[in-house]
Symmetry: C2
Subunit: 503 residues, 2 copies
């Protein structure tokens, strides 16, 4: 299989999108989303996630003629587009033995990067004798309706089909298609996803139990909708991560914002800040700097993973600066420690990545994750304002978001009350250092809807490739997940046998 | 509440639609659906179902501005239409005590008739201290998008939004809206439906467990899709019903078709048949007669309910005819016994009822129920031909059906394997004399996904009003259903209490 030159990782991108909306929102309420950390940049900041045992030679790419609109019967709904999926048969036990299928559900990015980065599949194929399947999300990568990205992203009329219910139906259809094609009707399917893709995995299990036997939903903040999770939770955790890493670092950051504001308000203030932070272009506003710093802290917290622990890196820079330096020099030392060896450090050019463009629509239609910044964080307060969010989306697309649709269609309120006697076979995994974990499921719901969290884990860490340097708690988390999924599959085979004997 | 002059009952209409497609299909494959037994005619044939204890004065009508397309974000998807629902607060225990809500889900007809005919709600309101809610299905009655029936039914572009997934989302939204409006967030909701509406009830519970605590799905043939149920099952049961009522009657009917064909092929044959059967208009083909007879036998079997037992009535006519009369005179005696005191008996004018027009679209889009007639019935063999069915729908609407969508979205294959450890709180009730029961769930799936059937029951009998004359097995069936639902609700209240205490 030809590998795309650009790698991506949904788990990373998911958060960056949300943050950018938030931070850029500070500028007089403008929804200035394109200013995003590009994927490449994010990956460079986290180079260790690139490794994997996956062998690309074993991957085969396929295309499925996917229905444009599963829930409508207008003539145009029948249009199809080529949806990409990739399979790896190397370790599969085959249809005769109804050997398992591990299906990774793509999220808000092209699929290419996931093929080597989603270690949970490549590392476990041999343990499960599993067929590996990776499916790309509609409107990303090579799975674009209307013939071209230009057409597909033209306006709300072509973007209207770009939503989670359609995407989950796509996945269900492709999985059924694969099973039929391979004559593997009774092969149990486990769907796996991270972050937004983790939500999709858990929702697919809930909506299509006949398609997936179980789901591993890694770092899926399915409760970060409506007001189920306090809106300030995300930045409370970012703050906590920094405070626990270093009290002085936390205080330095907390005190830095007013200093930035003060300097910015002085004559030539922006040019002083530009020079101090070695920005790539002269700053046009202090928000530009504050957004990027905030984004960096949040990214470091969300992906605060071993062995590097970015929060420790940033705080190492800040705390390691000369005691006599001014506060902004210390902050810059933190930036420089994290973003090593750059020619410039702030407002690097954004490339309007597929993820940026796609996720902007998704958040402006249904994925309204209302993250704000409350009191008592190391950031300046900034409540989420739904009305201005709606206005901004209206201005961008001409249609308003449906902020309650996710909880209407998928639920979320009182999840334990609802699911403790309904549904089964979902693992919600989280790392508590990940600020998104606060919108995740952190308590067991039933005997088979399980919450697994690690105190020191970060965003989607469990589904990344196994490494020699992995701490013991991470090894154990993954082992537990594999053990639980093996139990589901064993139970399924026993049920299948009992039913076939009866027939 | 103003009562509509015309009454209808989904449970009745559901079958008539399917049969008409089938029988008219004999004519050189034409899909000549408008030739249907009108609702009124069907009701006249079953006058006993009209009674009810419901007091219409307690009914209040409301309209909800419903979203046209829940699964799409094109500008036109945001259009709304007024969806009708009706509530009866008389026996409700109120929001403070989280008293239950019984919600009837309308099917392929205007809601008006259901308000008095769905006894399960009116009879049980007092037993549950329940709020009664009746919701009309989109594209029927007063719940018409696009401002008028004419616009809404113009072509596939306006009909495209007319499908079960959208309808179920409508119901979910209205139920959530009602709970919010009444501050009854923790009131448990039981959804109830019959036939197609029963499918919707079971599917709503499966897809929206956060909206409905449980479902009573009466005579819901959710397995009569794809090839899960043998295609000939329906007419095998019709045949069995007649054979068990009277072996001679069964033989007379079985032998009558070739006699009709033979006479029809003779000079003036059609006029002989027209006169023999006192047709309303001269017959244009023998199929016209055979369709109507077949439809009548099937209707009699499906609604073979006490105290009248239509199959016994028909066979009483046939068997009671003079032994020396010719076979077609005996058949006519059966018709005359069933359709008493008519001025004419065959090819009565059809009125293109809402149900006829609406269900024709629904079967031609997603509700492809592949009923055919196999060998060894009392009918002439007539296999279901999917290809010609698709062609006919294409000709009518310009878009093809999606015959596998129902099982893709809702499942159905290996239902016990899939649901024995997933989902809860559904009653599938059936009467085994109902030919549709063969496409229903007849075995318990789990401890709380329960199949209840009665050997002598007919289509939707359990949700019709209680009557003094009800046989003991019917009384017991209804008592069992009420007891099970009470158990769900008690369990729910216990769960709710435990969770609230913990908080």
């Amino acid at each position: 299989m030809k590998r795309s030159p650009e790698f991506s990782l949904q788990c990373l991108q998911f958060m960056v999108m949300v943050l950018s909306i938030l931070f850029t929102g500070t500028e007089a309420g403008r929804l200035d989303i394109p200013r995003l950390s590009p994927t490449r940049g994010t990956l460079i900041e986290n180079p260790e996630i690139m490794s994997s045992k996956a062998v690309s030679d074993d991957l085969q790419t396929f295309y499925y003629p996917q229905t444009l609109d599963h829930f409508n019967y207008q003539p145009q709904s029948y249009a199809t587009f080529e949806q990409r999926y990739v399979m790896n048969f190397k370790h599969w036990g085959g249809a005769n033995g109804s050997a398992p299928i591990l299906a990774y559900l793509g999220a808000e990015a092209p699929l290419d990067g996931d093929l080597t980065v989603i270690g949970f599949l490549s590392d476990n194929a041999i343990r499960f004798n599993a067929l590996l399947v990776y499916i790309e999300h509609r409107y990303y990568g090579k799975s674009i309706p209307f013939g071209s990205r230009e057409e597909a992203f033209k306006n709300a009329s072509t973007l209207g089909y770009f939503n989670s219910a359609q995407a989950i139906a796509d996945y269900a259809e492709i999985i059924m298609h694969i099973k039929k094609k391979l004559n593997a009707f009774y092969s149990p399917v486990i769907v796996i996803g991270g972050s937004y893709g983790g939500m999709l995995a858990s929702w697919l299990r809930l909506k299509y139990p006949h398609v997936a036997l179980g789901a591993l939903a890694s770092s899926a903040p399915i409760l970060y909708f409506d007001k189920i999770t306090p809106r300030g939770a995300y930045f409370s955790v970012v703050t906590k991560d920094f405070k626990e890493a270093s009290e002085t670092c936390y205080r330095t950051i907390r005190n830095s914002w007013s200093v930035i504001d003060k300097i910015a308000s002085q004559p030539h203030g922006l040019s002083i800040l530009s020079s101090k932070f070695k920005t790539c272009k002269p700053l046009k506003s202090s928000s530009e700097l504050k957004n990027e710093l905030g984004n960096m802290y949040a990214t470091a917290a969300q992906y605060n993973q071993p062995p590097r622990y970015p929060v420790t890196v940033v705080c190492g820079g800040i705390d390691g600066a000369n005691e006599k330096q001014d506060i902004l020099s210390k902050i810059f030392a933190g930036v420089a420690a994290y973003r090593v060896n750059r020619s410039c450090y702030i407002n690097q050019p954004t490339n309007g990545s597929e993820t940026a463009v796609g996720w902007r629509w998704q958040t402006c239609s249904e994925m309204v994750i209302p993250i704000g910044i409350g009191k008592n964080t190391m950031f300046q307060e900034q409540p989420f304002d739904l009305n201005s969010f709606i206005e901004q989306c209206m201005r961008l697309y001409g249609v308003p978001p449906r902020p309650h649709w996710v909880t209407s269609y998928y639920g979320g309120h009182d999840i334990k009350l609802i699911l403790q006697r309904f549904g089964s076979n979902i693992i919600f995994s989280n790392g508590l250092r990940d600020p998104y974990s606060r919108g995740g499921v952190l308590e067991n719901i039933s005997e088979s809807i399980i919450a697994i969290h690690t105190v020191n884990g970060s965003h989607c860490l469990d589904i990344l490739p196994e490494k020699e340097s992995d701490p013991e708690w991470l090894v154990r988390q993954r082992e537990t997940e594999v053990m639980i999924i093996k139990r589901w599959i064993a139970q399924y085979y026993a049920d299948l046998k009992a039913i076939l004997i009866k027939q």
